[in-house]
């Protein structure tokens, strides 16, 4: 190798190194900005009362205290809201898993009259904002005596058009021959669904359940409308309510926010592979 080529190579490598440093700097800066509010939330929740309202602001607590957490559980019955949220989210997740899986499979693999037309009608529902339904839905729930009950939150969440889409798209890949072979062997349609279809679509069911769980846990507007009595509040509704009464208790509010966010964060961090699959599946067909 001649000297000039060598130095050209070296300057190219050097430039690449510079670019690399710049890219990492941007990535780290982005990560700091993305995490800062969350880190401050946790940090402030552990500060003694009043420390989050000082100038210059403290980023880390001078002394760790869990007093706000115990306050939330003993005085403000946050344990009750945690249980409410958990109950509602689990029931919606399990119910929607069964209901959307059956419907998605039927649209993908079973032949019946009017299937395509029905599916098109259902897809129009995707452009309808849910808020349009909320006023009459409230009146309907009132007539069914479901206002201020867990079921008022649960029932409208038990089936979703997006969920049916997700399952249908995945179930389309199941080979017809496999289903037909089972039919020849005399298996009932339900048996086929349970022992051939369900095992074949487990990954998308995992995706669906995580999506449903997080969406239900984080949901705010409908629970706010349908739950009027404190004893039934889910965490976000209770938190918004507390935020109005305890504006000055920064540290207390941060502790409440931590308790609300941590469960969904954990679910996401441990199962993110499945969650991200849902993002991708949702984007395949615009």
């Amino acid at each position: 190798m001649t000297a000039p080529r060598d130095s050209a190579m070296q300057s190219m490598l050097q430039r690449q190194r510079m670019t690399q440093v710049l890219l990492y700097a941007l990535l780290v800066l982005g990560a700091v900005l993305a995490l800062l509010p969350m880190v401050w939330m946790v940090s402030a929740s552990l500060m003694p009362s009043g420390e989050a309202s000082t100038y210059p602001p403290h980023f880390f607590p001078s002394r760790l205290t869990f007093a706000h957490y115990s306050d939330l559980f003993t005085r403000l019955s946050i344990g009750k809201y945690l249980l409410n949220s958990a109950f509602v989210s689990f029931v919606v997740t399990f119910a929607s898993l069964a209901i959307n899986a059956m419907a998605g499979y039927a649209f993908a693999k079973l032949r019946f009259r009017g299937r395509d037309r029905l599916f098109r009608v259902l897809s129009t529902g995707l452009v309808l904002p849910v808020q349009v339904a909320m006023l009459p839905l409230f009146l309907l729930m009132k007539n069914l005596h479901l206002i201020n009950t867990y079921w008022g939150v649960i029932i409208p969440g038990m089936a979703s058009i997006f969920g049916i889409f997700l399952v249908r798209q995945y179930a389309l890949a199941i080979p017809d021959e496999m289903l037909d072979a089972a039919r020849v062997d005399g298996a009932s349609e339900f048996r086929i669904f349970w022992s051939i279809v369900v095992p074949g679509i487990v990954p998308i069911l995992a995706t669906l359940s995580i999506w449903t769980f997080l969406a239900t846990w984080n949901d705010f507007m409908w629970p706010l409308i349908v739950l009027s009595d404190e004893s039934h509040y889910t965490l976000p509704v209770a938190l918004a309510n507390l935020a109005g009464e305890h504006v000055q208790d920064t540290e207390l509010m941060m502790a409440g926010s931590v308790l609300t966010v941590i469960p969904v964060m954990l679910v996401f961090l441990f199962l993110q592979r499945y969650y991200i699959q849902g993002v991708m599946a949702g984007s395949v067909k615009g």
Partner: protein
């Protein structure tokens, strides 16, 4: 044999309806029916008296819609919602694209690690982070103004100044939402063949040239999809102003959905609120159609 292969059509379709029944019943009764009922509700004067006794409700034609057009609060809610969607939407998309480009560079490692961090705000509970940000925006003790003070910028009354409240909400929405779009962009970028870039590089195209002549055109369908879902989501702005500003100051952050909520569920003017809901629906429908039209023209 072939006769046995295909089951009796009646039986298969009975099974299909059995599988479909729960989902169709739920979606029909608790979604499509209320949507249709909302249209009916919007041409009535259904209010608190109507809740007490439905017989107190009268058909009033398009009066609710006419009243809307003459109500300054409605126009300001519409304006605020457009502000949020048309400034916050593109900003979110730009940040998402930037992050996706960074994470798609061949020169960096630990991609999964950074991707997880960037995506985390998206899964958090909106109400909780809105409360957190409310304190970050505190005029005296908030980290934002503390940071700005280091740059020599005087404190901003983020949530108390009608000019700053919406930008503050937009900033939070960008932080919370960009991760989702970023993931979709990363998938879109992966689908662009490397040979295109290699060929452009041989032809002497710099990074900016490569971005505008290869990346952006190849990413166009993804961009339209992302724009549509982001806009649809942003037109439904509700929890952020509800928690952070209660629609204020001076109604500068009252969105269409927040207005609908207040009219319908605080003052129980449900007929009137239903007409607001329908305007929202039409706005979302139009925005979706326009964006798909743009996509068709490109291809």
């Amino acid at each position: 044999m072939s006769a046995r292969r295909v089951r009796m059509p009646a039986e298969a379709s009975t099974a299909a309806w059995f599988f479909l029944a729960p989902a169709l019943a739920l979606i029909g009764i608790f979604f499509f029916l209320p949507v249709a009922a909302a249209l009916v509700l919007s041409v009535t004067d259904f209010d608190l008296y109507g809740i007490a006794n439905p017989a107190n409700t009268r058909f009033i034609g398009l009066q609710n819609y006419v009243r809307l057009l003459h109500t300054p609060d409605f126009w300001s809610a519409l304006k605020n919602t457009f502000y949020f969607a048309f400034v916050g939407g593109p900003l979110t998309i730009a940040v998402a694209l930037g992050a996706a480009l960074l994470l798609s560079s061949k020169l960096v490692r630990f991609k999964g690690f950074f991707r997880t961090i960037y995506f985390t705000p998206f899964v958090t509970t909106l109400v909780a982070v809105a409360i957190v940000w409310r304190y970050l925006y505190h005029t005296r003790y908030g980290l934002f103004n503390y940071g700005l003070a280091h740059l020599g910028i005087a404190p901003i009354d983020w949530l108390g100044d009608p000019h700053w409240a919406m930008p503050a909400i937009i900033l939070m929405a960008v932080w919370k939402g960009f991760g989702y779009n970023m993931l979709i962009f990363i998938a879109g970028l992966q689908a662009i063949p490397d040979e295109l870039y290699d060929a452009a590089e041989i032809d002497g195209a710099g990074p900016f040239r490569r971005f505008f002549s290869i990346t952006l055109p190849m990413l166009a369908p993804t961009l339209v999809f992302v724009a549509v879902i982001t806009m649809i989501g942003y037109f439904q702005l509700f929890a952020e102003p509800y928690v952070m500003t209660q629609g204020g100051p001076l109604r500068s952050t009252t969105s269409v959905v927040l207005l609908m909520y207040e009219e319908g569920f605080r003052w129980w003017r449900m007929g009137y609120a239903a007409s607001i809901a329908f305007v929202l629906f039409i706005v979302i429908l139009l925005a979706t159609l326009v964006q798909f039209r743009l996509q068709k023209e490109r291809t």
